[in-house]
């Protein structure tokens, strides 16, 4: 009987050890899914990802949330965690640079391609969705870019704030907001294919440096490091690029030309 119990439990225990639990910022939804798929195909480790706002994860990790890896949309959070002793030393890594774009669904009658920033002020637009600038890096970048473009003072009365960048995207995608400034990674996803993208020049906002750490309290440090290494590899970087992220030690992309696969 005990032997049967061992046989039954053993694979489960082993499986738990081989599972890698990842906390990932909302804008990584589509990129991370593909990264996890590829990784699982190559190794036999299982990656389970929880998406949410980086600020939330920051609080939860300090209170014992059981993750192995944390991919934040804002490198400040992992830096703070490292300073407070929650990170495995030496694992802090800037894995991507986020980009923001203006996105409008086809239903919104603005000529985004030619209008650019002016589309935000069009009569057809009652609501502009962005992430909350108080705590979301994509929101801060959106506000900075709007200010640089000189449209912020007029546009601010139409703004609605998503709790995270994914909710901001959802507000526009559902039609409740007519236009939005969202992460390029989300704009390139299949769910957002029925709309136009206008890429915002990178010099209009501070780079959205996205950082990751392996957690000190991780149950599966080995697996976490393996996955992080995968992201640093050629194939990992290709996936990130595909989903609209810039990579830190690559030459800066030409910001004048909007690109779309």
């Amino acid at each position: 009987m005990a032997a049967a119990a061992c046989v039954f439990l053993a694979p489960r225990i082993l499986a738990q050890e081989r599972e890698i639990r990842v906390a990932a910022a909302a804008d990584l939804k589509f990129a991370m899914t593909e990264l996890a798929q590829q990784f699982e195909g190559q190794t036999h480790d299982k990656v389970s990802v929880t998406y949410g706002s980086s600020g939330n994860f920051f609080s939860q990790i300090q209170n014992g949330a059981p993750f192995d890896l944390f991919f934040s949309a804002d490198i400040e959070y992992p830096k703070k965690l490292e300073a407070a002793g929650f990170a495995e030393p030496g694992t802090l890594y800037e894995y991507a640079v986020g980009k923001i774009v203006i996105w409008a669904p086809y239903q919104t009658p603005t000529d985004l391609k030619n209008q650019g920033w002016n589309a935000l002020l069009s009569l057809a637009v009652q609501r502009i969705a962005i992430a909350n600038p108080d705590h979301a890096p994509y929101g801060r970048a959106a506000v900075a870019a709007m200010q640089k473009a000189g449209v912020y003072e007029q546009a601010r009365f139409r703004l609605v704030y998503g709790e995270n960048i994914a909710q901001a995207a959802q507000f526009v995608q559902s039609g409740n907001a007519q236009i939005g400034i969202i992460a390029k990674s989300l704009a390139l996803s299949p769910a957002m294919k029925d709309g136009e993208i206008w890429e915002i020049p990178a010099d209009m906002y501070s780079p959205i440096e996205q950082g990751a750490i392996v957690l000190k309290s991780a149950k599966n440090k080995q697996g976490a490091q393996k996955f992080l290494d995968f992201l640093k590899s050629e194939s990992g970087r290709r996936v990130l690029e595909k989903y609209g992220f810039a990579l830190p030690n690559m030459p800066k992309a030409n910001s004048a030309v909007p690109s779309r696969p």
Partner: protein
């Protein structure tokens, strides 16, 4: 510390509980006194918001209020703009969310009125409306107050629904629960704590009032 979000939450809770009382009374009356065998179906639907996650409710409310949803289309046709991200949109979503909290205490109260009192009223010539006004309602006052107070308190503490349909606009949809959440996200723990404590104290006061009434610490007439 800005009191805007707290005042907004109170405004929302007041509007919602007042409107809810008006909507809930006829339904509660029907559920208490009808002998239709399909009553249990309606009772289950009314109780749904108790078990549905608020974010689910909020999500579908967002869809319904959007330009492709039934409510949204109607609103745009009438007023030229959408319902999401407005105070009115919050009120409507909150009414759905707090619905059972108004209906159920009313039903319990109505059902507890001695049936012979209703008979006496009828035999003395009073129609249904008069019986309701002069006998059922005065004797159900504890239930009415409970319904009011519970919907008020429940709306005060609402988060998931507001998160989904609010858009976090200061003074319009940024309720105190969202504000507290924002502060935590921005690591402003001091401000978050202060707001949370005020909310806690007020909610406790409201609940204490409800239970005092229910324990007959106060009644409007001498008990028999």
């Amino acid at each position: 510390m800005s009191m805007d979000s707290l005042l907004l939450s109170f405004r929302l809770a007041l509007c919602v509980s007042a409107i809810l009382l008006v909507l809930a009374m006829p339904l509660a009356y029907w559920l208490a006194y009808s002998s239709w065998r399909g009553k249990f179906l309606v009772e289950s639907i009314v109780a749904l918001p108790l078990v549905l996650p608020p974010t689910v409710l909020g999500f579908y409310a967002l869809i319904a209020m959007g330009p492709r949803g039934p409510l949204g289309k109607l609103w745009i046709a009438l007023f030229g703009h959408g319902l999401a991200f407005t105070f009115t949109g919050l009120v409507i979503a909150s009414i759905l969310y707090s619905f059972p909290f108004a209906v159920q205490p009313l039903i319990a109260s109505f059902e507890s009125v001695d049936q012979r009192l209703l008979h006496a009223s009828a035999i003395l010539g009073a129609g249904k409306l008069r019986t309701f006004r002069r006998v059922i309602l005065p004797l159900s006052l504890p239930g009415v107050i409970t319904a009011l107070v519970l919907s008020f308190a429940h709306t005060l503490g609402e988060f998931g629904v507001v998160l989904m349909v609010g858009g976090n606009l200061a003074g319009v949809t940024r309720t105190v629960s969202i504000d507290i959440y924002d502060r935590v996200q921005s690591l402003e723990y001091g401000a978050a704590n202060r707001m949370a404590i005020i909310l806690l104290v007020i909610s406790f006061g409201v609940l204490a009032a409800v239970y005092a009434i229910n324990r007959r610490v106060w009644t409007p007439w001498t008990a028999k």
